[in-house]
């Protein structure tokens, strides 16, 4: 498709806009982060829905377990598997296309791990929505598509309109994708990217806090109105 639209200069046009001619690695990094993010947001958000459908949500909530560990724990297996797949697929691709980029890959993976933390916070928000609105799949798909579009999964966010770039700036995946590309394709390091790493760390604090507070509020409302048992 790209070659049809860009003709013989397609690769050159791509390089002009992205700063790299390595189309495969550029697109793969964005796609892999997006898919990993999708799994985290959906799993944390939907895990409670599964309990709700099985009729075991109330037993879970009655157990003397912290909600935070419950939400993280029941979705952790899938997330660990997805992260491992990311490690294998991206690692293998880099081994073939950019041998010697191991150190860069290690740094990029660290950024992914930091970037997962705010995503858990978004997942907490969804857990709250599940309790209130019940049907989560349409919303998780919609939000993950918004994330994919705004965070520069397949393109740099700088080509988006300004209002969209503003929204991109508050999404953690924007920094994860951009930093990973900078490290792997533009020879940057964690140290040289300290500004955006700092923002990512701040988001890692803000999102889980907001997410958990909203979840607890919705849970409390549901326990008062009797919404917990409905599905």
């Amino acid at each position: 498709m790209g070659r049809f639209i860009g003709g013989g200069n397609a690769a050159l046009n791509f390089a002009t806009r992205t700063g790299t001619s390595n189309v495969l690695v550029y697109e793969m990094l964005g796609g892999a982060v997006w898919m990993t993010g999708w799994v985290v947001v959906e799993d944390v958000g939907v895990a409670l829905r599964d309990e709700q459908m099985k009729g075991t949500l109330e037993q879970n909530f009655l157990a003397p377990v912290n909600r935070f560990t419950l939400l993280v724990g029941i979705s952790l297996t899938d997330i660990a598997i997805t992260t491992a797949i990311f490690l294998i697929v991206v690692g293998a691709t880099l081994a073939f296309t950019m041998p010697g980029a191991y150190l860069a890959f290690f740094q990029a993976f660290l950024i992914l791990l930091i970037g997962l933390v705010p995503l858990f916070g978004i997942g907490f928000l969804f857990s709250g929505f599940v309790i209130k609105f019940k049907e989560p799949y349409v919303f998780t798909q919609m939000v993950n598509l918004i994330f994919g579009t705004l965070t520069g999964t397949y393109y740099p966010v700088t080509i988006l309109p300004y209002w969209a770039q503003f929204l991109s700036g508050v999404l953690p995946q924007t920094y994860v994708i951009s930093n990973m590309r900078q490290i792997i394709l533009a020879n940057q390091t964690l140290v040289s990217l300290y500004g955006s790493i700092f923002i990512l760390l701040a988001l890692a604090l803000v999102y889980p806090t907001i997410g958990y507070v909203v979840f607890k509020k919705l849970e409390k409302d549901a326990s008062v109105t009797g919404e917990l048992s409905k599905y």
Partner: protein, 278 residues
């Protein structure tokens, strides 16, 4: 509940009332779940932007080229959405009733089968038009520029041919799913085959030669080629007049084949007693 068995002896009035009742039935089911509406209005355009913006990275850096890139991809999106109406509208209508266990009641009703199926098709077609119109506005707001449509009359004409052909295909597909039952596998195979082989997102001339023969044997290839030609003045596969004549012929042949096949499969299912098995 609308009166389906309309007491008029006027065939057109009766069919019209049946169609209206079928449309309202599907519309009411649809709005019963607001999440479906939200999903259609938000998720569908987002899938388009998600891929379209990426593809324009390869376009020449002039603004007009970028706008053309978006328009090209957007028409691909329209062709995909329209075909989804065929698969998940017409084709799935019978299967939905079958899995819900209401197909026999549906077939026992003193109403024409086809108007009942077309009622669902009409509801999805209207929803799709809404999504397409709404995405066009979003595309403009998103900086994708205006949508190019050089020959609106010809585009409408070929769109009508596409729809006539796709209703025929939908009936054929509805019959097949009634017979084969495994709807999801079949619909995914057909849908992705359509996307790849008919040149929805790229002209068929870029498809490697042995596979291009398959593309050229699919009627939808010509409807799509003519719609894109009318919209963006791209070259046609066959000489223009020949391609229009072929498209008209193919559209009506598809409708006839779909109609005949569906009736044949339904009769066969009645004899074998397989209508109720899901």
């Amino acid at each position: 509940m609308l009166l389906v068995n309309y007491p008029s002896t006027d065939t057109f009035t009766r069919l019209g009332e049946e169609f209206k009742a079928a449309f309202m039935k599907d519309f009411r089911s649809y709005i019963r779940y607001p999440a479906w509406l939200v999903g259609d209005l938000v998720s569908t355009p987002l899938w388009f932007f998600f891929f379209a913006v990426g593809v324009t990275l390869f376009a020449p850096t002039t603004q007009t080229s970028i706008y053309h890139g978006y328009s090209f991809f957007f028409f691909g999106f329209i062709f995909i959405v329209l075909f989804s109406t065929t698969i998940w509208g017409t084709g799935q209508s019978v299967r939905n009733e079958q899995t819900a266990g209401t197909l026999e009641q549906f077939f026992l009703a003193p109403a024409n089968r086809l108007t009942l199926i077309l009622g669902r098709w009409a509801r999805i077609f209207i929803t799709d038009l809404l999504v397409i119109g709404y995405t066009t506005v979003l595309l403009y707001l998103f900086g994708g520029g205006p949508l190019f449509l050089y020959e609106p009359a010809l585009f409408t004409f070929t769109l009508a041919l596409f729809e006539i052909g796709s209703i025929g295909f939908g009936l054929l597909f509805a019959g097949l799913t009634m017979k084969l039952k495994s709807y999801n596998t079949l619909s995914n195979l057909v849908f992705f085959g359509y996307m790849i082989l008919t040149g929805t997102l790229f002209p068929v001339t870029v498809i490697p030669m042995p596979f291009r023969y398959v593309s050229l044997a699919i009627p939808f290839t010509y409807f799509i080629d003519l719609m894109r030609h009318a919209a963006l003045l791209t070259p046609t596969i066959l000489p223009e007049s020949l391609e229009y004549a072929s498209a008209v012929l193919l559209a009506f042949v598809m409708l006839l084949v779909g109609f005949v096949t569906f009736n044949w499969i339904e009769q066969d299912a009645r004899v074998r007693g397989s209508i109720a098995t899901s």
